[in-house]
Amino acid sequence: MQIALFTIFGLLAVIAALNMLLQRHPINSALSLVVVMMSLAVLYWSLGAEFLAAAQIIVYAGAVMVLFVFVVMLLNAGEEQRTKGSKIASIAGFPGAAAIFCLLTFIFLKNRAALGNTQLSGLYNGAESNLTRIAHALFTNLLLPFEVTSVLVLVAILGAVVLARKEL
């Protein structure tokens, strides 16, 4: 059951990410990214993180990507011209990215037994829900970081309003 879920949505995420890479129009890339985020929400759910699955859909697919689509439409962004790109990207970038990928895959496959298996579980031990544990940690030990985050969001809102004004 879980292997089917993982295969379907993992493949969907990878295909949509590749589509985002290959499409030339920004709006197509944005919609592909929405598919990636939805698939990742399903994978979060399969790992027992229901709260994050909901937050992923609401915050990322719902809010952030709508903002992206709005900006693409506001600026009337057309197809991008293909240019050579920077030299450093082809010399150091792609081999570097490939090396990072090979290294990570090698390490993960080598330590496959030590990393263990995942169970399809909504609840940890069935005792209390994932949301209860997150809320308990967030509002007791991590209360100060949580409040600092609210200040950060406020500063971000003010910054966005100031930066997007007509006369800068």
Binding site: Q2, I3, F6, A13, V14, A17, L18, M20, L21, P26, S29, A30, L33, L43, Y44, A49, F51, L52, A55, Q56, V59, Y60, V64, L67, F68, V71, L74, L75, A77, E80, Q81, R82, G85, G93, F94, A97, I100, F101, L104, T105, F108, L109, R112, L115, G116, N117, T118, N130, I134, A137, L138, L142, P145, T149, V153, V155, A156, A160, L163, L168
Partner: protein, 100 residues
């Protein structure tokens, strides 16, 4: 039963696609979207490790990453709008004032 390493490899694949997209694409909005893709890949890794250890600390970290990414997207897109007002282009090759 899926090995945890498969989830981690999926995260690595998405991260490397994000890097490639960041390097290939010339549109500043798409470059910004590839940063979001890389953040999402790292979030998947965090959730997989949180599941492996049976603790919620990793999930709380993902929650904070999401909040910071949302704030970053708002400010970054405002900067893109301001940039477009000044330069009338979204192509990063034409935004090279510091180079000359």
């Amino acid at each position: 039963m899926v090995p945890t390493s498969y989830y981690l490899i999926l995260g690595a694949v998405l991260f490397c696609i994000g890097i490639a997209s960041f390097l290939i694409r010339r549109n500043i909005i798409t470059i910004f979207m590839s940063i979001e893709l890389m953040l999402n890949a790292v979030n998947l890794t965090f959730v997989a490790f949180a599941h492996m250890w049976g603790q919620v600390a990793g999930q709380i970290f993902v929650f904070f990453v999401m909040v910071v990414a949302a704030a970053e997207a708002a400010v970054g897109l405002a900067i893109i709008i301001a940039l477009f007002r000044v330069r009338q282009t979204l192509n990063v090759d034409q935004v090279n004032l510091l180079k000359n």
